[in-house]
Subunit: 204 residues, 2 copies
Amino acid sequence: MHRGRIFVVSGPSGAGKSTVLARVLSALHDVKFSASATTRQPRQGEQEGVDYYFVTTEKFKEMIAQDAFLEWAQVYSHYYGTPAGYVDDALAAGKDVLLDIDVQGARKVRQKRNDVVYLFLAPPSLQELERRLLGRHTETEERIKVRLEAARKEMSAIPEYDYLVVNEMGHVGDAALRVQSIIEAERARTTTMLKIWGDLVEPA
Amino acid sequence: MHRGRIFVVSGPSGAGKSTVLARVLSALHDVKFSASATTRQPRQGEQEGVDYYFVTTEKFKEMIAQDAFLEWAQVYSHYYGTPAGYVDDALAAGKDVLLDIDVQGARKVRQKRNDVVYLFLAPPSLQELERRLLGRHTETEERIKVRLEAARKEMSAIPEYDYLVVNEMGHVGDAALRVQSIIEAERARTTTMLKIWGDLVEPA
């Protein structure tokens, strides 16, 4: 059985990551989104195993001790992490796995695994990102400033990524297609293909 | 202006290369097919500059002396080659360039240029290739044997290629889409994208 690959997708809040990933997942077979584990309480509408795996702090610390995370981080009083088990099960079943993790998390994955593909989803500019965040009318100007500074910092890590997809205003479909193309192309890599099609190559 | 990239496509005769490439070219903007130069006579229906650039042997040798080919070869009494000038003009205009060249030609390009993407288009098996060649009813069994042996030899070079696309019977559209995905994905490489979107990255 062909083993799938991990695709890490990073990008600042407001870049449209969740919309783009939802489109990719509905379009591509054999791609699975792997939810994070968290110790925070579920919010309205969030589903166990879909949005997050909700676990106790005790359980989370136990998993840290067992090296059961691909990456994890503490944000204020809560823990967030990517459980390696679910990812490996999906890979072994031949699925490709999408992980939505931040720049710091991606760096940790890079230390643990080879053969991971790194994508960065960016807004066309910080000015455009600011317009989008202001347009939501859900946050104070102060919070938006904090977010923009975080975005600027995340975006300085773009050169660490294999691919950069720019999500232009009103073209979320194009960004999703671009991500799909990247997954399809990575599946067509000779090293990956020869695991299935090795018989094609006979000695010269 | 963003500079385009060269995509070399190789594959044995009967793998469906010309059908697949025709579909890719009609679907993708900003991709140009670069015809070869040859000293052989045009065949019925072949168009100058579309199928080949038809040149005299004297002119061809002059171009060899001027190092004007990306790669060239002599096959029996005729010369075939890829004029670098047309390719570079298209690249400079921001177009990606598709080159249909064989394994030997691809090896020569590899020595001359970096930043070229290599695709191999293969039939699902040599048995399937044999069936396709027999089905054409255009060649003797002896000629088909020669072609199959040539195909086996070409296919032994697959590991030299970045991507392998298998053109399965009755699924030429899938193979074309796979090639399109590869071109789209290569356009999304961070190193390529940052030539256009470099402003996104500010110091951390």
